[in-house]
């Protein structure tokens, strides 16, 4: 790891002392990052101001000293999936490639608050994936063994242990989907998703990276012919920008952006919904996931219960919630925790997920030189933000594809080397 250059000028360094000083003086804290003029040329243009785009920008600057970088977002930073997800982090995947990759991310998340000087509220409260039948129990044993081999804390536990970890769970045998066991992953947990996005934006901006919100990419300039195509820059609703490297980090919109460069990705966009209840006293420690019931639940620090489920049954770009979703969700949650019957839902929302055929991302170079992708994050990509940003930054800085993302190249579909990451979960998180 190269020595990290000091950020040139943070707008302000956060500390207990500065909080006290500003509090006593009664003045407002300075903005977390500054607005800059849009230039007509950058070394690197990153499309998409979600966790992936911003982390890539941050590690380009922090690890490689590449700071002539712009992050463009058509909305505000975190307006995509990064501000809409249920913020579950874990690394207990099924394939060794997947486990190694997500484990690196969890490790980066563990020290992120210190790295960014920004409280991202990572709470490693443990993660339980319930098994309601023999075949899922078998897969969990398999997953636990792969996890242990890769040095990830993960084990299969029985109903008695589950009851100890989550007393309010119905572990009786007389239910439609009895709980036979669970894959328990102590380092898993939840994080404050907005803080991660804002922290990366602030960190990158501190190194001189430009963050341009309300700037929509409308076209990508590609030069060349049969001997190779090369990216020249992007067109936006605020003017053209020249760049020799353009990175597509637009998740649910990624096929639209790739198409602008003449690159077709095997991705389909599906809405994914989530919902949250009114706050109640803390009673639920671990994150609880049920694949068979297609739900998961966690309790935030404020006491709200956050529920997630599977993607909507048909593809599209609509971010409207549906009644079918809350009906199904409520039924399934009550099957797991009947005592929640009187808790009221406060709101529901949706985000867009870029689903690939093998539940694995598409990362690295494309047939167009200088045009890179970090997409296909589906329902599970928030947890991958740090490792993806680090690897994409490496890829740009060194011109070589780092080993940790080598399995995720777009060429795997042509070569018939699909990954089959079933540990990505049937329910989105």
């Amino acid at each position: 790891m190269p020595t990290r250059p000091r950020p040139r000028r943070y707008p302000a360094r956060y500390s207990a002392f500065s909080l006290l000083r500003h509090g006593l003086a009664g003045d407002h804290l300075v903005p977390a990052w500054r607005d800059r003029e849009l230039k007509n040329s950058y070394d690197v243009v990153i499309i998409g101001g979600g966790v992936h785009g911003l982390a890539t920008a941050y590690y380009l600057a922090a690890n490689h000293g590449i700071t002539d970088v712009a992050v463009l977002d058509k909305g505000y930073v975190g307006s995509g999936g990064s501000g809409r997800n249920t913020a579950i982090l874990r690394s207990n995947y099924l394939t060794p490639e997947g486990v190694r990759f997500y484990d690196r991310s969890v490790r980066l998340y563990e020290r992120l608050a210190a790295d960014l000087n920004y409280n991202v509220m990572f709470s490693q409260r443990g993660h339980l994936t319930l098994a309601h039948n023999d075949s899922s129990l078998r897969t969990m044993r398999w997953r636990a063994e792969v996890n242990k081999l890769e040095g990830v804390d993960s084990e299969v536990v029985g109903p008695a242990e589950i009851k100890k970890l989550v007393p309010y769970l119905d572990v009786s045998a007389a239910v439609r989907y009895p709980i036979l066991g669970a894959l328990y992953h102590p380092p898993g947990g939840i994080i404050r998703h907005d803080a991660v996005v804002w922290g990366y934006a602030r960190g990158a901006s501190g190194y001189g990276v430009h963050i341009h919100q309300n700037t929509e990419v409308t076209g990508i300039d590609v030069a060349g012919g049969p001997n190779g195509r090369r990216v020249r820059g992007v067109r936006t609703d605020r003017g053209d920008i020249a760049a020799s490297t353009v990175i597509n980090c637009t998740a649910g919109w990624s096929t639209l952006v790739a198409e602008m460069a003449g690159v077709r990705l095997p991705i389909q966009t599906f809405p994914l919904q989530a919902a949250v209840t009114e706050p109640v006293r803390p009673f639920l420690d671990a994150v609880v996931v049920s694949g068979s019931l297609h739900v998961y639940v966690s309790q935030t620090d404020r006491g709200e219960l956050v529920f997630g489920a599977s993607v909507d049954p048909f593809a599209g770009y609509s971010m409207r919630g549906s009644l079918e979703f809350v009906e199904g969700l409520a039924g399934h949650v009550l099957e797991l925790m009947p005592s929640l019957a009187k808790v009221r839902l406060l709101r529901q929302w949706a985000g867009l997920c870029d689903m690939t055929p093998d539940f694995s991302p598409i990362m690295g170079r494309t047939p167009v030189d200088g045009f890179l992708v970090d997409v296909g994050w589906g329902t599970y990509g928030f947890k991958a933000g740090p490792v993806s940003g680090e690897a994409m930054a490496d890829c740009v800085a060194t011109g070589r594809t780092p080993d940790i993302i080598a399995p995720f190249g777009v060429e795997r579909f042509a070569e018939g080397r699909l990954l089959g990451e079933k540990g990505a979960a049937a329910v989105g998180h």
Binding site: T255, A315, G316, Y317, S318, R320, E324
Partner: protein, 86 residues
């Protein structure tokens, strides 16, 4: 509520249907190369706008229907061009 126009059952709630999605003709196994199969298996236009697609009326007549749907507004209209979709 999103209604799909089933030619046999009339307009019905989308929840009665199974989503099949963008559909094109299956390549001819005798002549198709890997490139063509790959496109058929994994290639999707995934547009933000109108798309011709198939649905299966599983809680109704159990037949396949084709419609055009706007993927942002979820407006639905009968298929404009005959033969597209399946």
């Amino acid at each position: 509520m999103i209604l799909l126009p089933c030619p046999w059952c009339g307009p019905r709630n989308v929840a009665e249907f199974g989503y099949v999605g963008e559909a094109g003709p299956r390549p001819d196994p005798a002549s198709a190369g890997p490139e063509e199969w790959r496109g058929y298996l994994y290639g999707r236009a995934n547009p933000c706008g109108w798309v011709a697609e198939s649905w299966y009326h599983r809680m109704g007549c159990r037949r396949y229907i084709s419609v055009e749907r706007h993927t942002l507004s979820n407006e639905v209209r009968p298929l404009a061009t005959e033969g597209a979709g399946r």
